[in-house]
Symmetry: C2
Subunit: 303 residues, 2 copies
């Protein structure tokens, strides 16, 4: 949440275009505004405009060891208030992740970690500022969570203990995978709408008769609702797909996006126009047609 | 230097295209990868692709008051070493600016500020981390400058005194403007090449018989060499233009860019292909032709 996404660190690309042209984009300087920003055009184009064969990235120094906080909340509303209050400070936090009750139960049911399975959600927070600033920021974060209604908090400046606390997040997806066939979503909403999104997802799970565990990058508003249905149950698979669509629609209705980081691909292709609008999709397709008039590159994906 | 450039904070745009289409680009979430990044394509396009009528920006909290350091150096090499050592730490510094000897003399000759006019360069450094972290970072910065060979340093955590120290930077361009007709350049180089750039500029000034004062954003490698010639002297104006071209060529030869932030416009249009290459310019023009086939938008500029 502090350092942005990979896109923010791409300075230049080598791209092979549909006609075989080898294109070099970008610059070797930190700042530069000479001509159109083709680098950003190619990043995230999902292979529809050219094939990236080299990338020049801005590197960052290895951050100092992080302090870690885990906070449990009895209601989604309280967890959502904590997220909003935590990010108001800007970029102090290096990590801010959420797990909902379904995900907590899946993790705890697999690997006993003494997680509070009565909680509606837990937040994991890290700060990688150098000491002594790091310790004071993580203590402020704990106080913020408590003021927002956290039922329990635990914090550590020991990197090994911090890693142990993060383990619940690492296990989130594999723990849900153990419960059945999964369909991993990737929506993002304005951070203030995270509780509405999770509320909406719980309603969808009930209505469609499927399990949905939600976890992800609360600090960016980017969540991964994961629909779980029994293996080999075709009727459940269809209900799962419908639930997946309901989640995407809910995110859009909350002012969000159909994909925060995974991309459009084939699965969300029909949703793209709904998000970006008819004119914007027309312009995107015109740019695509300019660079790849025969439609050779990654046909059927994204645009 | 810590917060990046405006481009980094543009979430979305409303753009009127050449055919009258009103296009909405971007998103309302922090993260989002749905479709092509048209926002970045329009930012920095200098009005050649459409007319921006609205921009949605990511806001940041007001930073805490800054601590400020000024450091004088007897040689450009020492100042350049200090810049490289200072930025190695990443984003700790909020400001890192340089003034060369010609600029220092122009400022001191106008408003007596007790600047060391024997110095080859001065660096201005700010840190806006909250106390007590800010004070320790600015003290480390002072030590870094001294280790790199600074002849004198002064630092303050008083915001009013800090503003007074920044005054030399604020006066840089108007002080040079007092000396004659100016041609303000805007090149950027990898930060390790700043001393080479300033050395090269001093050689150009001598060879072309013009004054060039260099100042700017050392933390980004983005400098503003300002060519000064007597008002109304046509022959000097031609020498000044030649010197301006020499500066641009020197920046390119050092792995830099013809424009760090001001743009290509009309003045640097002939340089664009030299920087980005024939193929890249061809693709940029193809994108332009797709969006503005009749060439209505800002003709004669940039592309």
């Amino acid at each position: 949440v502090k350092y942005g996404v990979t896109r923010d660190h791409v300075l230049g690309l080598e791209v092979v275009l549909a006609d075989g042209t080898v294109l070099e984009t970008g610059r070797r300087t930190i700042k530069g505004v000479a001509g159109l920003d083709l680098t950003s055009l190619f990043v995230g184009s999902e292979g529809t405009l050219g094939i990236v064969t080299r990338a020049r990235l801005r590197l960052r120094p290895v951050p100092p060891p992080a302090s870690t906080l885990v906070a449990f909340f009895g209601t989604l509303g309280a967890a959502g208030r904590a997220v909003v209050d935590l990010v108001r400070g800007g970029t102090d936090l290096s990590l801010l992740e959420i797990l909902d009750r379904t995900t907590i139960e899946a993790v705890e049911g697999w690997r006993r970690m003494d997680l509070d399975t009565e909680a509606a959600a837990l937040l994991l927070v890290q700060v990688d500022a150098p000491a002594p600033a790091g310790a004071s920021v993580i203590q402020r974060a704990a106080a913020t969570c408590e003021a927002a209604g956290a039922t329990d908090t635990a914090l550590t400046d020991d990197p090994v203990e911090g890693e142990a606390l993060l383990e619940a997040r690492r296990l989130a997806y594999p723990a849900l995978e153990r419960l059945g066939a999964t369909l991993l979503d990737d929506v993002a909403v304005p951070r203030s709408r995270i509780p509405d999104l999770i509320d909406g997802i719980e309603a969808i799970a009930g209505r469609r008769g499927v399990t949905i565990g939600t976890f992800g990058h609360a600090g960016d508003g980017n969540l991964h609702p994961t629909v779980v249905v029994p293996h080999g149950d075709e009727e459940a698979r269809v209900r799962g797909l419908a639930a997946f669509g309901d989640v995407v629609r809910t995110a859009l209705d909350l002012g969000g996006t159909i994909t925060g980081e995974h991309g459009v691909g084939a699965l969300k292709r029909d949703w793209l126009e709904r998000e970006v609008g008819t004119e914007c999709l027309r312009i995107q397709r015109a740019v695509k047609a300019t660079l790849d008039p025969a439609g050779l590159l990654n046909p059927g994906r994204s645009l």
